[in-house]
């Protein structure tokens, strides 16, 4: 049974079991041949407004210079009132936020309370610092809890910033320019959404690692509204010619049919619970 790690104290000190192995593998494979982790090369932004927090992200995931995913979801669910945008290595942001979500769910069930944003931040900071930057996750956490509306950024080495507006990822400077110009304290909802949309759009246009659509998540004390996509990319691929292949274009060289001999002994039907 998997117990939450907040019930048992994590091992003291750094855990570098695999770091030495990874370094020697890299050397053995003559540099450049190690599989490149999928990085999200991203623009993510967050803004605290009058009634809550707005988070925004682009949807392009790159693997080197190739776009691996044009509709990747970078805003991750942590709790009904807390969402997290992730930039950096895609696997790291996915797994870290999943682990965080599981731990907070267990906490909620154990204590009967809604999780607070500051708890999520502390768990993340703890874990990322323990791995000394080996986990490449740059996260923007936003949520609305009983103490108010909060926005935090957590870096891969475990650093935390608590600010009213934030951007991260490779397009952070382009987006930050828009936020620095347009941010005011206590914005209205529509203005806040528009500001975040413009910030992500600036990242998409100026940064090669960001692109495609804009996702937005609005979190208030009533709940979260995850709008995906908030703005579709205006660039449609309008190829004029059709590139279809007739059946038979690929030649069949040999064919081998292996019949599966099955005897029906007993047949039962179990309804799937689709409620």
């Amino acid at each position: 049974m998997a117990l939450s790690n907040i019930l048992e104290t994590p091992a003291a000190g750094f855990n570098f079991d695999n770091a030495a192995r990874n370094a020697s593998l890299e050397g053995r494979l003559e540099g450049g041949q190690t599989p490149k982790p999928l990085k999200t090369g991203t623009t993510i932004a967050g803004v605290v407004f009058k009634d809550g927090v707005v988070l925004g992200a682009d949807t392009r995931a790159t693997s080197g210079e190739v776009v691996a995913d044009k509709m990747c979801a970078k805003i991750h669910y942590i709790a009904p009132n807390i969402y997290c945008c992730g930039a950096g290595t895609a696997a790291d942001t996915e797994k870290t936020t999943d682990l965080l979500a599981s731990n907070l769910a267990i906490f909620s069930l154990n204590s009967g309370r809604n999780p607070r944003v500051v708890m999520a931040v502390n768990i993340l900071q703890d874990m990322l610092y323990r791995y000394h930057g080996q986990i490449g996750a740059n996260l923007i956490l936003g949520g609305a809890d009983c103490t108010g509306n909060h926005l935090y950024s957590v870096g891969p080495y475990g650093s935390v910033n608590k600010v009213p507006y934030l951007t991260m990822g490779s397009g952070d400077l382009a987006a930050l320019g828009i936020l620095e110009d347009g941010f005011r304290p206590d914005l209205e909802l529509e203005k806040a959404k528009e500001l975040v949309r413009l910030a992500i759009h600036a990242g998409i246009m100026s940064d090669l690692g960001s692109g495609n659509n804009v996702d937005i998540c609005v979190i208030t004390k009533e709940g979260a509204d995850y709008i995906r996509p908030y703005q579709e990319s205006e660039y449609k691929d309008d190829r004029k010619m059709k590139y279809r292949y007739r059946p038979g274009t690929t030649p069949v060289l040999t064919e081998k049919i292996v019949p599966l001999k099955l005897e029906v002994v007993q047949e039962t039907v179990q309804q799937m619970d689709t409620a």
Partner: protein, 237 residues
């Protein structure tokens, strides 16, 4: 272009990366992205390139085409390190003028290709970081494409893609123009309009998946009437 990283040497400036300290040496090259494509037909040649100039994750310019007109019947596409592209095209222009003045005729596409090969090999030990493709009409008026590597090895092709998205485009061209990996398909000779449409479609695909390709597409169609240029918009993100 990636500069060489070396570890160690106390006293040198160290840049801490998550894998450990890394020493950066000055690299004389940079990779400015861009994709070039050339197709040769029966009596025409097409040279196309995107117009984005980038470095790292930033964009320097959205309007920097990589096709350069050399003569009335030849166009060259150069992608790679922009500094070397500019210098190389200046050198080729100067050599063309010199040839014209001493021989009283314009260089043919084949001659330009041979000359470019020697120019590139002349810098064998500090190469021009440029991927060149020449497209034009040969002496008989048929379409010709010559593709080069950075140190001057070249060959005449029917179609070739070079630059950052070349690995994505080349297999598609092999299939659609060379009819490779297909059976029972009519080998219809390529018309100029179909070739231009194919080039546009293929660049739209490249812009979807290659971050260095986009903004706009410049197509130069070379026929005996002259060189016709068109610009088509591509994704800007």
């Amino acid at each position: 272009m990636l500069s060489t990283h070396t570890f160690g040497d106390p006293g040198k400036m160290k840049d801490y990366h998550y894998t450990g300290p890394a020493e950066h040496r000055f690299s004389p090259y940079a990779f400015n992205g861009g994709t070039v494509l050339a197709v040769a037909g029966e009596d025409f040649a097409i040279v196309a390139s995107d117009t984005r100039l980038s470095e790292g994750y930033s964009i320097h310019s959205r309007d920097s085409p990589k096709c350069y007109k050399l003569t009335d019947t030849t166009v060259i596409g150069c992608s790679g390190f922009h500094g070397d592209c500019l210098t190389l095209t200046k050198i080729i222009d100067a050599r063309l003028k010199m040839y014209k003045h001493s021989n009283n005729k314009t260089m043919t596409s084949g001659a330009i290709a041979a000359m470019l090969s020697t120019i590139l090999y002349g810098r064998r030990f500090f190469p021009y970081y440029v991927y060149n493709i020449i497209g034009g009409l040969d002496e008989e008026g048929k379409g010709a494409v010559y593709s080069f590597d950075p140190v001057g090895s070249y060959q005449r092709d029917t179609y070739k893609a070079g630059g950052s998205a070349s690995a994505m485009l080349q297999p598609l061209l092999d299939n659609q123009i060379g009819f490779k990996n297909m059976e029972g398909v009519q080998h219809v000779p390529l018309t100029k309009d179909k070739a231009v449409q194919l080039v546009k479609d293929v660049f739209i695909s490249a812009a979807e998946r290659d971050v260095y390709t986009g903004d706009a597409l410049r197509i130069c169609v070379v026929t005996k009437e002259g060189i016709d240029e068109q610009t088509v918009p591509l994704r800007k993100d």
